[in-house]
Symmetry: C2
Subunit: 402 residues, 2 copies
């Protein structure tokens, strides 16, 4: 496939095709699924009024979705409502599911979520992947995938696709890691290494983290900048509810925005990039600590204990973030900045200097900076949810499978 499922369908299936009855039906099936999914449960009449179709038209669509196992009937709605009681509909807790995986620098994780968004199976393993070649890492991940899928199948779920979050740049084919400097992988075709039992989507961890924020937080704005860090610093740019990917799929490289153009050289070939001031290794170095182990936990612990070197290092990192984000806010004008991923655990010590730098450098009311509540779990959840979204966006495409 040439683009991740959730993207190719972001503006509806068949957008570029002439309108046909068949295309209308598919889009209306998606509207029904999204309406029920958004509310948890809904009567046919409520679906009809929400999506602006007649109740007869909605009943035909609903019947098809029940027949193919994507919706289920919960029985009559609770009494006390006005009018004749209708049978409430809910998204099915069986059938197609989202399979998400994450290859981190220091961990592997796999989970299955059902169409309702509930995590139904999950495994995680810690241990560094730095310096390991792709084959054994992906083999280990594949074993975890099989284990989680077996567990999900026992509950009547089958994965409609596999989405993998990785700490690196991913080509627009959504399967090739172009480079993941902190794993020392490049031009790695995960599609060739993973089992081909499921449609595959590979994406950068910051992107999946940003999408998780968009989909799972109830009050997320449609335009925001999701800043994320594992070892490197990345960002997801969400514009009008969609991810901005860039021509090659490399957008969001906030870590390589110049902060001090004559500063220290960076792995990217530039000088004085944000990563040289606010990347984990730069912060550890500035705090006089050795790299390795659970660095975020170490920094957070020492900062909590009031270690002056760690607090100063994080304050300076926050200032560097503020300078780089000033440029990003001037270019993109998002509604909000969200600190996600591992960064969220260091927010209490980064935020004050970051926010004061932003306020000092930008005119008008300051853009709010918030901290993700999903934290380091964001990328894995975003990956699994991307598969579920693809099912909701085009239920007809999975109806015959399983």
């Amino acid at each position: 496939m040439t683009a991740p499922l959730h993207e190719a369908r972001a503006t509806g299936p068949g957008r570029a095709l002439p309108d046909t009855q068949q295309g209308m039906r598919r889009r209306n099936l998606a509207r029904v699924m999204h309406a029920v999914s958004a509310e948890g449960s809904l009567s046919r009449a409520a679906v009809a009024s929400r999506i602006g179709l007649t109740r007869a038209a909605v009943s035909t669509l609903v019947d098809e979705l029940i027949r193919t196992g994507l919706l289920e009937e919960l029985g009559p709605e609770r009494p006390g409502r006005v009018g004749r009681p209708g049978s409430a509909l809910a998204v099915s807790g069986r059938g197609p599911a989202g399979l998400g995986a994450e290859i981190g620098v220091d961990h592997l994780a796999v989970c299955v979520i059902d169409l309702r968004g509930e995590v139904r199976a999950r495994i995680e393993r810690h241990g560094t992947n730095r310096g390991r070649s792709p084959e054994p890492v992906v083999e280990e991940l594949t074993g975890m995938v099989r284990q989680v899928v077996a567990e999900a199948e026992r509950e009547g779920l089958w994965p409609a696709g596999l989405a993998v979050a990785v700490p690196g740049l991913v080509a627009r084919d959504a399967r090739t890691i172009v480079r993941a400097p902190n794993l020392d992988w490049h031009d790695t075709d995960l599609g060739a290494l993973l089992p081909n039992d499921f449609p595959l989507t590979v994406d950068n961890e910051a992107n999946f983290g940003g999408l998780a924020e968009l989909w799972l937080r109830p009050d997320t704005p449609r335009d925001f900048l999701h800043v994320s860090a594992e070892i490197g610093i990345g960002a997801a740019l969400v514009v009008d509810g969609s991810l901005l990917r860039g021509t090659r799929g490399f957008a969001g490289e906030l870590g390589h925005v110049p902060v001090h153009p004559d500063g220290p050289p960076c792995v990217c070939g530039g000088r004085g990039c944000l990563e040289q001031y606010a990347g984990e290794e730069a912060v550890l170095r500035a705090a006089g600590l050795e790299p390795g182990g659970d660095r975020v936990g170490l920094l957070a612990g020492l900062a909590t204990d009031g270690d002056p070197n760690v607090r100063r290092a994080l304050r300076e990192a926050g200032t560097a973030f503020g300078i780089a984000l000033t440029g990003a806010l001037n270019l993109l004008d998002p509604e909000e900045v969200v600190l996600g991923g591992a960064l969220s655990g260091l927010a209490p010590w980064l935020l004050p200097s970051l926010e004061s730098e932003l306020a000092r450098r930008t005119a008008g009311p300051p853009r709010p900076v918030s901290v993700s509540r999903l934290g380091p779990e964001g990328p894995l959840l975003g990956a699994a949810h991307s598969v579920v979204r693809a099912v909701l966006d085009d239920p007809a495409a999975v109806a015959g499978r399983g």
Copy 2:
């Protein structure tokens, strides 16, 4: 209206509404108009094969578009083609038209283009608007608008809307200038000052310049960064063929990306912004020249003559552009950077240092930097074309008017 016409319709009319026969018909009318417009002239059969509908369906749509004066028949196609000759269709050179206007710091301009994109009437006046209050400037512009419209009406054209390019930030209502520092205007509602004979769209000059580049250059990529300057420095970010506007409509403020974070203070409240190194006034100052008059012409003339101070000033401005663009390319990953507006006239002296700075700071193959062939004409043409695009995007909306 809450958004510029060309934007509200960017993804097709009724995108958020349930699919209906009526919506399908409107979208298919748009597909016919765009197909004919893209080719100059086309037979019914060619339209049908291009948009994937039956010839009978296309004939019904074409008949409606001819009846409402948006398409015309050119008579039988030239002989020598295979098969029975069909009557070639063309977009009408009469009827609805695009009315564009530009309020520059040093000039006013108004033009009318027909649906074929040809300029049919145009007036321009030079003289500074700096320090003038909005009322007399808009009054002068209104006089020019009436003159151009009268001229166009004599040729059977009627404006389907008025689009105005301005050198400042425009609110998302597409009528209020939030601030135009080089005019010293702020919170100026152009909608209240301009005649309400036509639907109005006001937008930043860099945005209209970027849209002109997208619509009028035959080989323009779908993702590019259009850098523009009149007195300030702005950019239009075109992503997948649409303008990225930002939450408040303020995206593209490249001039306020920090280049040297401890540099000189800027009007925006920040320090060391790009405008402090590469804005027209900074370049004039660095070259030891007085501001005022045709500054771009002056700089280009002196640079051509080999003036070492001017050449050095432009070289240093190019370096500053390279630093700011490094950040923008890392964030956005566009396919190309286009230098437009007045900047295009200084490109020969800016480009070498700009490109070498980019090459030095970014990994991978360098992003191409090109120079707009529309140059300073871009914003006015983009404004007029935005009205024409709105007609092509929803021909049914204008069919009853005129």
